[in-house]
Amino acid sequence: MDPNFLDFEQPIAELEAKIEELRFVGDDSEININEEITRLQKKCASLTRSIFAKLTPWQIAQLARHPQRPYTLDYVTRMFSGFQELHGDRRFGDDAAIVGGLARLEGRPVMIIGHQKGRDTKEKLVRNFGMPKPEGYRKALRLMKLADKFRLPILTFIDTPGAYPGVDAEERGQSEAIARNLYVMAGLRTPIVCTVIGEGGSGGALAIGVGDRVMLMQYSTYSVISPEGCASILWKSAERAAEAAEALGLTADRLKALDLIDEIVAEPLGGAHRDYDTSADNLKTALLEALSSFDNVSTDKLIDQRYARLSQYGEFRETA
């Protein structure tokens, strides 16, 4: 078992290991095995295609939190130039689970705000596994207001298991911090484009998720609760997470079909973690397109449209 591959990715891992092995032999011997390598590569691609053609929601939930999945800063370095990270909420501290700052997208200044997970154990702890505390939401809010003041578009990148369930987070009013962001984002006088790049976990995700366009990377999820959390409450067992994932309808395809998100950004074959550059290219194209669609929209109209979009969330009937 290769720990960098998920269960259902193991057949791909095995084939790739075999290809690597052949390459190694190829370097050392005079036998030309390029043909064999090409054949295996084709096989690998078609195997990947067939595995990824029928992913279950639970498998997609695992891809969304794949240990190799690109995080906010992986995208930022690839899509933007001149990123200047800005720190702190000016109230309590600087939460490393949310990063933000100014950067340029094809020359155009923008404000970037995103959850940030850690790659190794030490960084995971520093980043608190991408789970913000109130100071994180408040830093995000401060940066959004700064963007509003100078009329810079806001681009958010969502990737969090959720808000941090801790004593200190509660003491510092994490409910209020999340609520305040929702309240303020509804009225910001600048375009907001939100992209879920991994896990869109409940209130911690929504706190930077109110915008004029909401996009999901193809194998990202967006949900009111994690499949495990839902399973342990409704099925009384976290083991039933696969069923919960199915019931919650947390995948990009499903959410698009329900008209709860605006756009799906394609990931390269095998998922974003297989090719960071292509993923970043795809996302950058989508962001540029989204931003240009707001270029000729007046501020009042932008806010009205945003409000109309928010008001229309919900399914109900009214009987006489």
Binding site: G166, E176, A179, V210, S223, L250, Y313, G314, E315, F316
Partner: protein, 279 residues
């Protein structure tokens, strides 16, 4: 964030219909009629018992005039959600047990002569959880407040977002908060009264967006539930954690108000905010 607070739909039936009720806190045996006269606050120890949406509105509003707003909204279960039980069946059961169509009741009325729109949660309806109907009703309440230039008051009692409506529930947080942002721009006051319990997505949206934030004594108020936090931090929680008094101490709310004073206090606050003569 969704409800981890469980209620059995038949809990209501379990409350003795008899003349006597035992206080869960001080164990005093109380005469039912006396308890009701005391607004379901234990006369011996001051414990605020949970009360339903109708009882809340009945006791809070002036007797006349009253009009209910959008009483006929119902969930459509668009996801056909099913866990150990069908969501549809859970809804029917909750409707039967409470007589309500969903977990929020909204009325237009008056408080000591001041025009108000009041929303109150029915906790017995699936733990007061918020799905599309609760979100829509709240927004309609806010819209009514804008139309009437009436103050908005909301009494929350909720475990949070309703899991059975998945992302729809989460998005109600954004929808309701956006409505309040509009209300705020019109300069119309909004008072949030958090009663036991106010958790998760309801706490992290309109409950915490009051111009004035009030809690009833002893109410549990927070985002993550205490058990979830305990499992995460693996330490015992501080005394009174997430209780109204704890929130007051930490600067999260303006005041803790006894239910029996609620009409007087809110009327005084609203008349001051709206620059009207003292009620």
């Amino acid at each position: 964030m969704p409800s981890r607070i469980r209620t059995e739909a038949n809990q209501k039936g379990a409350v003795p219909e008899g003349l006597w009720i035992k206080c869960e806190n001080c164990k005093s045996v109380l005469y039912r009629a006396e308890l009701e006269r005391n607004l379901d606050v234990c006369p011996k120890c001051g414990t605020h018992r949970r009360i339903g949406a109708r009882a809340r509105l009945e006791r809070f509003l002036d007797p006349e005039p009253r009009t209910e707003i959008s009483p006929n909204l119902e969930s459509t279960d668009i996801l056909k959600f099913r866990d150990s039980k069908k969501y549809r069946d859970r809804l029917l059961q909750a409707q039967k047990a409470t007589g309500e169509r969903d977990a929020l009741v909204v009325m237009k009325g008056q408080l000591k002569g001041l025009s108000v729109i009041v929303a109150a949660f029915e906790f017995e309806f699936m733990g007061g959880s918020m799905g599309s109907v609760v979100g829509e009703k709240f927004v309609r309440a806010v819209n009514a407040a804008m139309e009437e230039s009436a103050a908005m008051i909301c009494f929350t009692a909720s475990g949070g977002a309703r899991m059975q409506e998945a992302l729809y529930s989460l998005l109600q947080m954004a929808k309701t908060s956006a409505a309040l942002a509009r209300l705020g721009r019109r300069g119309i006051p909004y008072v949030s009264v958090m009663t036991d319990p106010t958790m998760g997505g309801v706490s992290a949206s309109f409950a915490m967006l009051g111009d004035i934030q009030i809690a009833e004594p002893g109410a549990l108020i927070g985002f993550a539930g205490p058990r979830v936090i305990e499992q995460t931090v693996r330490e015992t929680l501080p005394d009174g954690f997430q209780r109204a008094e704890f929130l007051l101490q930490h600067g999260v709310i303006d005041m803790v108000v006894d239910r029996r004073e609620m009409r007087d206090v809110i009327a005084a606050l609203l008349s001051a905010l709206q620059n009207r003569p003292a009620a």
